[in-house]
């Protein structure tokens, strides 16, 4: 196990545990306002301080982690659920019309500035977590389709795939039995990357008021609240910012670590 894997795994686990724990316990009620205690700096009572309504930032971060994880996770799910089958299909029909249509469609989605479209979708169909998930998820589809196709194409030229074809197996069966297990590493690594990008995108959307709506806490909106107060209460901006950075950093390190650990070339060298 590499250091990246350890550190990334630990950070990611920390965020997951905090999010899970928040269902049962938070130090304070995350939405309870307590004006006399407002804008307290981090201390013994309020570990991360309080915001301009006197709400406990530590509790808000814990509950906010839920939102970030849920949005990013479902968005990655959309990407994998639709992108991987499309990518497998395109690779199996390399050069055919299906491949052409799928890949051109991918290029087209890539041509849309993702953030603008996400803003457009949430603005037109209403701000909220579900629309944010859809807006982020749509742009995960071509990413996974491309990675899948890119990983599958060289496999289709390999002799063990030819051997499977000589054994009479069809394209669908070969894709599931031979291609998918051999590109699982790629997909796992890509999923962690997209997951971290999803967390960043969710934060951006809720920062401009288009993500999860109050009273659901979210890290992006905490930053939006902090903006006007940044000169008098910088901790309000620092706390959610560092939460985002550590989460994304953890996921990226996890992705890198997994890539090295799962690389079959390295594994063969060790075997």
């Amino acid at each position: 196990m590499s250091r990246a894997l350890w550190l990334g795994g630990a950070l990611s686990a920390l965020v997951l545990v905090a999010a899970g724990l928040s269902f049962f316990w938070t130090p304070f009620d995350h939405s309870a306002m307590n004006i006399p205690d407002k804008l307290q700096t981090p201390g013994a009572t309020h570990w991360f301080g309080t915001d301009h309504f006197g709400r406990d930032l530590f509790s808000m971060i814990m509950v906010g982690a839920r939102t970030s994880i849920a949005v990013a996770l479902v968005a990655v799910g959309i990407g994998i659920g639709l992108g991987v089958p499309l990518g497998l299909w395109a690779a199996a029909r390399q050069g055919g019309w299906a491949d052409e249509v799928i890949m051109r469609g991918n290029d087209l989605i890539f041509a849309f500035p993702s953030l603008v479209i996400a803003i457009l979708i949430t603005a037109i169909f209403g701000a909220g977590a579900v629309n944010a998930i859809i807006a982020i998820g749509i742009f995960n589809i071509p990413v996974f389709a491309r990675v899948t196709r890119g990983g599958a194409l060289p496999l289709w030229a390999r002799e063990f795939i030819l051997a499977a074809r000589v054994s009479g197996k069809g394209a669908a069966r070969i894709s599931v039995e031979h291609i998918l297990p051999n590109i699982a590493n790629l997909l796992i690594v890509q999923a962690t990357i997209q997951f971290s990008l999803g967390i960043l995108a969710e934060a951006a959307l809720s920062y401009v008021g288009l993500g999860a709506q109050p009273p659901t806490p979210s890290w992006g909106r905490m930053l939006a609240d902090a903006q006007t107060l940044v000169s008098i209460a910088p901790h309000m901006a620092l706390v959610p910012g560092v939460a985002i950075i550590l989460t994304v950093l953890g996921l990226n390190l996890l992705g890198d670590g997994l890539r090295d650990a799962l690389d079959p070339k390295l594994r063969v060298a060790r075997a």
Partner: protein, 315 residues
């Protein structure tokens, strides 16, 4: 080369056509009638009808789509529902903020990333490499709008070197204008530079393992000479892709940074228009951004061919 360019151009036009259809369709299904939004809930039915006729909203969808597209081809983006001024004027004005910002950020990002990536690759596995790569890991994880807030806190509020927001305007001189774009450009550029530096490094490391690099060393070139003369140009091919993607991201990604710094760019225009249901502006700005992305991708394709002779002969 010409054939390659023509083929790319054809696919560019097709992409634009499909993109315009998609954007038009999304705006069409958007709930809310611009006319009643503009006149308020108490408007008379005949006033509404008159306004709809004036805005061209009573025509069929096909007619409106064709009118929109043919207008855009001639540089006429229609008239803003909200301000009753030509959209093209509004866009042109805002473009003078967003485009320089994107270019400024791209320049910063490249200037930081190329040396960092080359340095890390040449010190592979040593302390310098580990340091640069660690910094890029953090750079990638930083949300740019948060980084923008921190820059404001440090350089505008505490040190007072820059103003916290707003745009000086080009009429105040190039220096003043660039100065007011500096913090936003840094905020945009640093996370992008982190990505670019990583791509540069891994691309160079891949190239270093190639057979032709060994040939170059066997000629008597030093490691550094081989890298400079044979490695860089080959390593540039994947880097170009990322550069192209980044430019479009910077142009559109400015949207949120413009919010942080109160810059009168395209991003703020989109936000304001969405909240005012000024859909013709939303439609046109989105189309413009898509156009920019597609054109940049086209330019990247041409740049590929310039760098890689293997593409030139291909159709």
């Amino acid at each position: 080369m010409l054939r390659y360019a023509l083929k790319r151009l054809t696919s560019l036009l097709i992409s634009l056509a499909i993109a315009s259809l998609v954007i038009f369709a999304v705006i069409e299904v958007a709930p809310g009638d611009p006319a009643s939004f503009m006149l308020g809930v108490n408007a008379q039915e005949d006033t509404l009808a008159a306004l709809r006729a004036e805005l061209g909203l009573d025509q069929s969808k096909v007619q409106r789509y064709l009118a929109w597209v043919s207008g855009m081809v001639q540089g006429d983006f229609g008239t803003s529902y909200q301000y009753r001024t030509p959209v093209s004027d509004m866009i042109a004005q805002r473009l003078w903020v967003s485009l320089p910002l994107a270019l400024y950020a791209l320049a910063l990002s490249t200037l930081i990333a190329f040396p960092a990536g080359i340095y890390a690759a040449s010190r592979r596995g040593k302390a310098g490499d580990v340091g640069v790569m660690g910094a890029t890991q953090i750079g990638i994880a930083i949300p740019n709008f948060w980084f923008a807030m921190m820059l404001v806190l440090v350089f505008a509020i505490n040190l007072r070197w820059f103003s916290a927001g707003g745009f000086a305007g080009w009429d105040k001189g190039v220096f003043a204008a660039l100065k007011s774009l500096t913090l936003p450009a840094i905020a945009l550029a640093l996370p992008q530079a982190a990505i670019l530096a990583r791509v540069m490094r891994s691309s160079l490391l891949d190239i270093m393992g190639e057979d032709f690099m060994r040939t170059a060393r066997a000629k008597g070139l030093t490691r550094a000479q081989a890298l400079r003369r044979h490695g860089l140009r080959n390593a540039l091919i994947p880097v170009l892709t990322i550069l192209g993607l980044q430019f479009s991201f910077l142009l559109a990604g400015g949207i949120i940074i413009e919010q942080v710094f109160y810059l009168p760019g395209l991003g703020r225009l989109i936000f304001q228009s969405i909240s005012a249901r000024d859909l013709i502006v939303v439609e046109s700005v989105t189309m413009l951004l898509v156009f920019a992305v597609i054109v940049v991708n086209f330019a990247v394709d041409l740049a590929y061919a310039a760098v890689d002779p293997r593409l030139r002969g291909r159709t």
